[in-house]
């Protein structure tokens, strides 16, 4: 085991990693920007080093500064958390070339999974289904029709260099494909200066489901079940749960096992998450792999009892996994609500401010992961995550009721947060029944209406 680990991150995840190190008896170095000098991770770590000004490019993304901090403090390994340099192959390589240990997968794995096309190719070869579609750009309407006939309607036309829905068309039947192709190509040309289009199978009611993996340096690979992450807006997750209410247990375990075997084939090391798109018929397709810790890892920890961060560190130090797949058991249900410094009534507009009054509803089955405190000033420079509320219950219903209760008791004053929105979701019938897809936030815009005077925190 390492003697000293440097945590190349900030906020709640820096604190999470520091706590894991402390539990393992490992000393910690917190690096921070000048804006973060008075934060909890900095005060809790054994040592702290200021590495730069508030701008992330000069501090948390400043590889040389971080490596210098590691050298000056004698840290033996670097944990990147999530975001920032967590999936930066150059950093992973630099760390290793400096004689230090990067707590994460190899730079090669990071690189391969960082390129969407390469990642899909790799995982397809490893045995995972890929969303059917044109491997390359589609020449014209006729080629589109040939491919569509092969993969079946509906299909989705997507601008190759686009985003934000422009140059995008859902086509339900063959006779519409020609005109749609022309329109989408024109739109893409207009918007992005290039009319190239891809075509892929369109999933009408998609689920974003991801599988948590742990793999050691000796070929040991386990999955820790799945997470349902379909409640998102602008690709940011707002609520996650495990297990998924959409999958029967045998189907979920089947998918997890398939993913586990694929990961074993590619020789991956460390913690990782395989993101899948799952359609109405519970067919799944590989989308991408995150070669790092996920924000929502705690819900998996709650149901498996396994501390993923400590396992990351153990793996990086060369230890084999202490359990095989059969030893991993799943108990109960866990939900995460991400309390963000955002105003849901203003389309989740980020806000800043100073935490005036802070009280967390705790008690049975509630875990709060946060770095905020009363008097803490939320910097505009960084992301808007204030606190993660994680509930656990023997059943999904219990997990929901505990989350409601915890949020109702919680007070965060000084700036708007997403908790009033979360409170409304927690009593909304589609959520309570567990019948939701990635369209949930868009289909329930009324939950973003300003709350009635009785208080959105009221969970009853």
């Amino acid at each position: 085991m390492f003697n000293k680990i440097l945590i190349a991150n900030r906020g709640e995840i820096a604190l999470r990693v520091i706590r894991a190190c402390q539990e393992l008896g490992v000393s910690t170095v917190a690096v921070h920007s000048t804006a973060d000098a008075d934060t909890v991770p900095v005060s809790v770590a054994d040592e702290s080093v200021c590495i730069g000004p508030p701008q992330v490019t000069k501090s948390y993304l400043n590889m040389h500064a971080i490596l210098t901090a590691a050298k000056l403090t004698g840290a033996e390994a670097i944990h990147p958390g999530y975001g920032f340099l967590a999936e930066n192959e150059t950093f992973a390589r630099l760390v290793r070339n400096s004689g230090l240990v990067f707590i994460g997968p190899s730079a090669d794995h990071i690189a391969r999974m960082g390129q969407k096309a390469e990642a899909r190719k790799t995982m397809k070869e490893a045995g995972l289904p890929i969303l059917p579609g044109s491997a390359d750009m589609v020449k014209d309407g006729d080629e589109a029709k040939r491919i569509a006939a092969d993969i079946g309607y509906p299909v989705l036309l997507k601008a190759a260099y686009g985003g934000g829905g422009r140059g995008m068309r859902v086509v339900a039947k063959e006779e519409d494909l020609g005109p749609a192709f022309a329109q989408a190509a024109a739109e893409a040309m207009n918007a992005f200066g290039d009319g190239s289009l891809y075509l892929e199978k369109f999933i009408e009611r998609p689920h974003h489901i991801e599988i948590q993996i742990l793999a050691d340096q000796r070929g040991g690979v386990v999955h820790l079940g799945e997470r349902e992450c379909s409640i998102q807006r602008r690709h940011q997750k707002l609520i996650e749960e495990s297990p998924s209410p959409f999958l029967a247990r045998d189907r979920a375990l089947q998918i997890c096992e398939t993913v586990r075997q694929a990961i074993a084939r590619i020789g991956y090391e460390g913690a990782g998450t395989v993101e899948l798109i799952v359609d109405e018929n519970r067919r799944f397709y590989f989308m991408e792999m995150n070669t790092r810790l996920q924000v929502e890892h705690p819900i998996t920890e709650e149901i498996t009892g396994i501390d993923i961060v400590k396992e990351q560190i153990r793996i990086a130090s060369g230890q084999p996994l202490r359990f095989r797949q059969d030893d991993v058991t799943f108990r109960g249900h866990s939900i995460e609500c991400r309390a963000l410094a955002e105003d849901a009534t203003l389309d989740f507009r980020p806000c800043t401010g100073t935490i005036q009054n802070l009280h967390f509803g705790l008690g049975p089955g509630i875990r709060v992961e946060t770095h905020i405190y009363s008097g803490y000033q939320i910097p505009a420079t960084y992301d808007s995550l204030l606190a993660k509320f994680i509930s656990w219950g023997l059943t999904r219903a219990e997990s929901i009721s505990r989350m409601r209760r915890a949020i109702r008791e919680t007070v965060i004053e000084g700036l708007p947060t997403t908790l009033p929105w979360h409170s409304q979701v927690l009593v909304e019938p589609d959520f309570v029944r567990g019948t939701y897809t990635t369209h949930y936030v868009a289909e329930h815009r009324r939950l973003q209406d300003p709350a009635p005077a009785t208080g959105a925190g009221s969970g009853s």
């Binding site: 200021c50 590495i51 210098t68």
Partner: protein, 140 residues
Amino acid sequence: MKLSDVRDLLDTALDILGDSAGRVELADGRRRVRIGRVSASGAPSADAVSGPEGMRAPPEGITIRAPAIGVISLRDNRTDRPLVELGQTVTQGQTLAFISSMEITTKVTAPAAGVVEEVLVDDGDGVEFNAPLLKIIPSV
């Protein structure tokens, strides 16, 4: 323990243990460590400007902070002579120190002309970003 805590601790230790020059030497056979607070003997003190014309505030010192994390060098790389001495008058833009971080070396220069009042680090120290390095009293 944080670097700033260490600094405070050393400050206190020097108050108690320091010799007349404000220095302490610690040795344990294998290693020898010298800790010293560099006094501002050559710089004009607040007392010096008091008196009949001393009603104006003493000139305010400028603290020069580390522009990068790294190891500080207070000596000229080629001559191995100190870049600046206490009490020395420096010109704006004059090199006061170098900070090396991995392969990159950053020059620390004087933001204004003035007199070096205090040197807050020792040659070879590791310094954080923004750590105070020197104080100069700007020429008025």
